[in-house]
Symmetry: C2
């Protein structure tokens, strides 16, 4: 608009010079001052904050990162600024995904990839994030508009597509593989995928992509009655994938689409979705910045403020071929993992002349998941009082089996019972 | 801006009529068309959604309440539209209060009273809600700007004041007493006060006001290291008030202000604050609309995704005089409460000719908090199989003591231990 007003003022100026009658000048000057007033009004429109080069720890009102960098001084995070190196893909920019995107944007995440094919409607206004003036825009465009105003430091990529179509899935895959943001990164081009979709098919598409790319992801969901939800961590090969343990409705052979009858819409609440987005991004931050414990599964039953947790091993009979490949790889890499864990533990133990680390500020412990029976080769004489080796010696590793992780046959049955208990709670 | 452009066009029109030279008309017409283009640009600026008369259950994209009214069809809420009758006071419009206000606004709450004396700074941008273009505005003004755009149906009242000053406290009290929004309401003019402040003095001011007005309130807080928080329900006379059990730092005689050293700012995260705001407003909705169970206390330890709960009885030695008065009133009203509960139970039981309610969809139960020993006067013969009276008969009530609720002397000690355990967790 500023450009238009400048042109207008130039035109008025040239008209002024060609006016013959001096009495007309007064009228024209009045018009000119009106336009100048307009120009001031337009200038008074919001100025966007400029990009910042480095995250400063300085405690001043003008520093958008002071309260985040304070996490370092508080002893929660070792190096907060690392967050600028990370890329997060958010699939589904609805009631959970949009709030998750805003939280990550305000935290100063490096890069966000946003996927959705839907448009903003007034019917979305009962959840946080979108505004009535964005009705009719695609959710991805509206999100980029809002997020880039909030924090211009974040690199935003918007993908207006449906990942359950062949074409959409291909674009989804290639965008995840793109490593131009951090070419040195191992694996895919993103550090974590957040699934914030509202249906089974889209979750299966995310599951397929992440299994193929060996990409860790966090699943999230909110119930149709709006009063419960969950988040779940999925590490291909290491934890159950989404196809390892299909949800009850699928397991019992009911087509999800038949559940959604004509004219019947699911309920939703900004509260439940805000809590789930908060838990999702909090676990994302713990995962990226290495503090606290990332929850393998966390439920939220809002009627009773009950938060169930559980853990799921992969299903060796999983129908997803890529999942089975990841399970094999995970089993094969076990000796390597154990050796790395052992080396890390030993590196942290005091050498004869080195200083003794007598505190454990980060509460880090290395847990042995091998069978401990008959392997008690701990050289406790070399350790200070109160410390013991949690891992067997390198020789003992030779005797360990390297089979695929054994899954109890009861796992799925247990899971169904737990889900039923949660649903009926 | 639209008004200014209209005036401009009128002026150009009158200039056009007084121009002598036809060659000048062309220049002027060019100017006119530029201004018309500007007018269109201004018109293209966001249109606000109009107010709606009634909350519709219609499932169309243009209905901002369809997903909330669906809570009725889902069997969660009996009458969602009642939310328009309720007034909520939010004290402190920061990281928790602003998000709580947005959630309630999107839920279509009747009236919101907002209290804060602070201004928006760039340093607030790591939490949800405020935008960089609002820097410099008071938080209350910025909140009203954003919230009225989101939902013009909500009546917003903005109080830019500090409730810990004498004048501020008086205005706070009189605004809570004002019943013009719903003159028929019992008690104060608000249904619930949400405390979203960040310091002890302000919490004590809210506590004082609510004890004086016998006003139920919900307390909320987030730790200085940003990774834990809590909400707590306070019903004057019935539960502990904020002065009944002062926080550890106050109990141990440390002045809170000495903890905040020069140049040291507390850490904060949009995740923790979003979760606390979500839990706070979810419990507000449960309290207002009568579904689920309102948590007396709910903590959030984000490092371990641990959610401690507890309950606190009032302290008969509380230093707050108004709290002691409320405790006396509560004790005196016990027979009345018991009789009402008994009447309610009996009204819900089947009469001889009436239909039998064999389900309990809302899972409502009346629990007897009197001593059951020796009072087994249940007329179980009058009840259908599987149902028993949970309350003694009216005659038995005569024998019950009406003393003040007995508080175990160990309560405070227990509470300190619990708090220590939570903090060290």
């Amino acid at each position: 608009m500023e450009v238009e007003i400048k042109q207008l003022l130039a035109d008025l100026q040239s008209l002024d010079q060609s006016l013959p009658d001096p009495s007309l000048h007064a009228s024209l000057h009045k018009i000119q001052s009106r336009v100048e007033h307009l120009a001031n009004l337009v200038k008074a429109e919001p100025v966007r904050r400029s990009k910042v080069q480095d995250m400063s720890t300085e405690v001043v009102d003008s520093n958008p990162y002071s309260r985040l960098m304070a996490l370092q001084r508080m002893g929660i995070v070792e190096n907060y600024e690392r967050i600028r190196d990370f890329s997060i893909a958010i699939v589904g920019v609805g009631g959970v995904g949009s709030v998750a995107a805003e939280m990550l944007t305000r935290c100063g995440i490096g890069r966000l990839l946003l996927y959705d094919y839907d448009k903003v409607e007034l019917a979305n206004m009962n959840r946080l994030f979108f505004r009535p003036d964005q009705v009719g825009m695609t959710k991805t465009d509206a999100a980029v508009e809002t997020l880039s105003d909030i924090n211009p430091d974040v690199v935003l990529e918007s993908y207006t597509l449906n990942i359950t179509t062949v074409e959409g899935f291909e674009t989804f895959m290639s965008s995840l593989k793109n490593k131009s943001f951090r070419p040195s990164k191992q694996g895919s081009g993103v550090d974590l995928v957040l699934s914030c979709v509202d249906n089974y098919e889209a979750r299966m598409a995310v599951n397929q992509a992440c299994n193929e790319l060996s990409q860790t992801w966090l699943e999230s969901g909110v119930s149709e009655d709006a009063v419960s939800g969950h988040i779940q961590l999925l590490i291909p090969g290491e934890t159950a994938c989404f196809a390892c343990a299909p949800p009850l409705v699928v397991a019992s052979g009911v087509d999800e689409r038949t559940l959604k009858r004509e004219g019947v819409c699911a309920a939703s609440l900004p509260t439940t979705m805000g809590v789930i987005a908060g838990l999702l991004v909090q676990n994302t931050l713990k995962f990226l910045l290495g503090f606290g414990q990332v929850s393998p599964y966390l439920g939220y039953n809002s009627l009773k403020d009950f938060f169930p947790t559980m853990q799921m091993k992969p299903n060796p009979q999983c129908s997803n071929v890529a999942c089975l490949t990841r399970q094999e790889e995970y089993a094969l890499a076990k000796p390597e993992r154990d050796a790395a864990a052992k080396a890390k533990l030993e590196a942290e133990l005091p050498t004869e002349e080195g200083p003794l680390h007598d505190d454990n500020e980060w509460n880090i412990s290395v847990v042995d998941d091998s069978e401990p029976e008959g392997l008690d080769t701990r050289s406790s004489d070399a350790l200070p009082e109160g410390l013991t080796h949690e891992l067997p010696t390198a020789d003992a590793f030779q005797k360990l089996p390297t089979d695929a992780p054994v899954t109890d046959n009861d796992d799925l049955e247990d899971l169904r019972k737990q889900l039923e208990a949660i649903n009926s709670a």
